[in-house]
Amino acid sequence: MPILVNLDVMLAKRKMKSNELAEQIGITTANLSILKTGKAKAIRFSTLDAICKVLNCQPGDILEFVEDNNDVPE
């Protein structure tokens, strides 16, 4: 997956714990864990909006595009 989720980096920068963030944005810790570990298939705009508001950051601070050589068409 060429999209990386840097949520743990932002959490460390803001010195916030996962369960605090989960509580504030209104999702379960299990779902937040899925998001952090990159297992999520998609993220809702409403969730992204809530995360950005709580962590006071931009979507680009959380999501990063990394080129995957396997996905490059020949």
Partner: protein
């Protein structure tokens, strides 16, 4: 939603009962076939038993003349047969017309009538001299391969019913636990579709072998070993008996299963959307 779950519960119970019943009936029939020399146990009567042979689907055709006029005259005699749809020989027609002109002819008329009972009072006479219907003939063969095929053919339907009921019972049990898409349901539906199509194709292959082995069976009237055209002619032709509905149902189940797989993937995606 509640109605659907209630229906799922009812269907689960029904398919479970049907599965258990098919196992019990199939088991009793099989045990009787193996261990008993008699096809009756009390009032229970087994349809498939080695003592009477195994059923084979056939097309039964009955040809019969409508009327047979036998005539005798000094120095000779003969008979004229009339049948609807049968060509009457010109010579016989002339002979029949001239019969009434002859003074010393003894005539004996036999009429074959096809009647439908119990409507005896308003008996329907057929407009033709031939009847065709589907049925089963019980055969016993000296050929081991054919006997094996006949036994397999007989029990295949029982096995198919039992396995289909089992799969449906498990599908509805799974739906009762959680009314959503499951990989288990998809796999079971694939099994069900494959079973319906394959069992029907195997049956058709068996019917083709029976057909090539037996060809045509016939019951005819013989007089001193010679064929009598005025008699009733009964013929049994092994039937291919293809149940297209089951084959189409099996193929439709495959399509449904593919659709469920898409649903399952969408549900998974939805669950992993945070």
């Amino acid at each position: 939603m509640n109605n659907s779950i209630n229906l799922v519960k009812v269907l689960k119970v029904l398919f479970r009962a049907a599965f258990l019943l098919s196992i019990v009936v199939g088991g009793v029939v099989l045990l009787m076939d193996i261990f008993s020399t008699d096809r009756n146990i009390g009032s229970f009567y087994s349809n498939a038993h080695h003592s009477a042979g195994y059923p084979m689907p056939v097309i039964v055709k009955v040809d019969f003349p409508d009327s047979i006029i036998s005539y005798k005259y000094p120095g000779g005699g003969g008979s004229i047969t009339y049948g609807k749809g049968r060509e009457i020989d010109v010579y016989m027609k002339e002979l029949s017309d001239s019969l009434s002109m002859l003074p010393n002819v003894e005539k004996d008329v036999i009429t074959n009538e096809a009647r439908f009972y119990p409507e005896e009072a308003r008996a329907l006479q057929l407009g033709y001299s031939s009847l065709t219907t589907d049925g089963y003939l019980y055969f016993r063969s000296q050929n081991l391969f054919i006997t094996f095929l006949m036994v397999l053919h007989t029990y295949l339907s029982l096995i198919l019913f039992a396995v289909c009921f089992f799969q449906l019972w498990k599908i509805f049990a799974s739906l009762e636990r959680s009314f959503s898409f499951h990989v288990v349901i998809i796999k079971r539906l694939n099994w069900l579709g494959a079973l319906l199509v394959l069992s029907e194709l195997v049956k058709v292959a068996m019917h083709m072998i029976f057909r090539s082995y037996w060809g045509l069976a016939r019951i005819t009237t013989l007089n001193n070993g010679r064929f009598v055209s005025s008699g009733v002619d009964l013929s049994f032709n092994p039937n291919l008996d293809v149940n297209w509905l089951l084959i189409l149902l099996g193929l439709s189940v495959f399509v449904l299963s593919a659709l469920l797989k898409i649903g399952y993937n969408l549900e998974q995606e939805n669950q992993l959307t945070i």
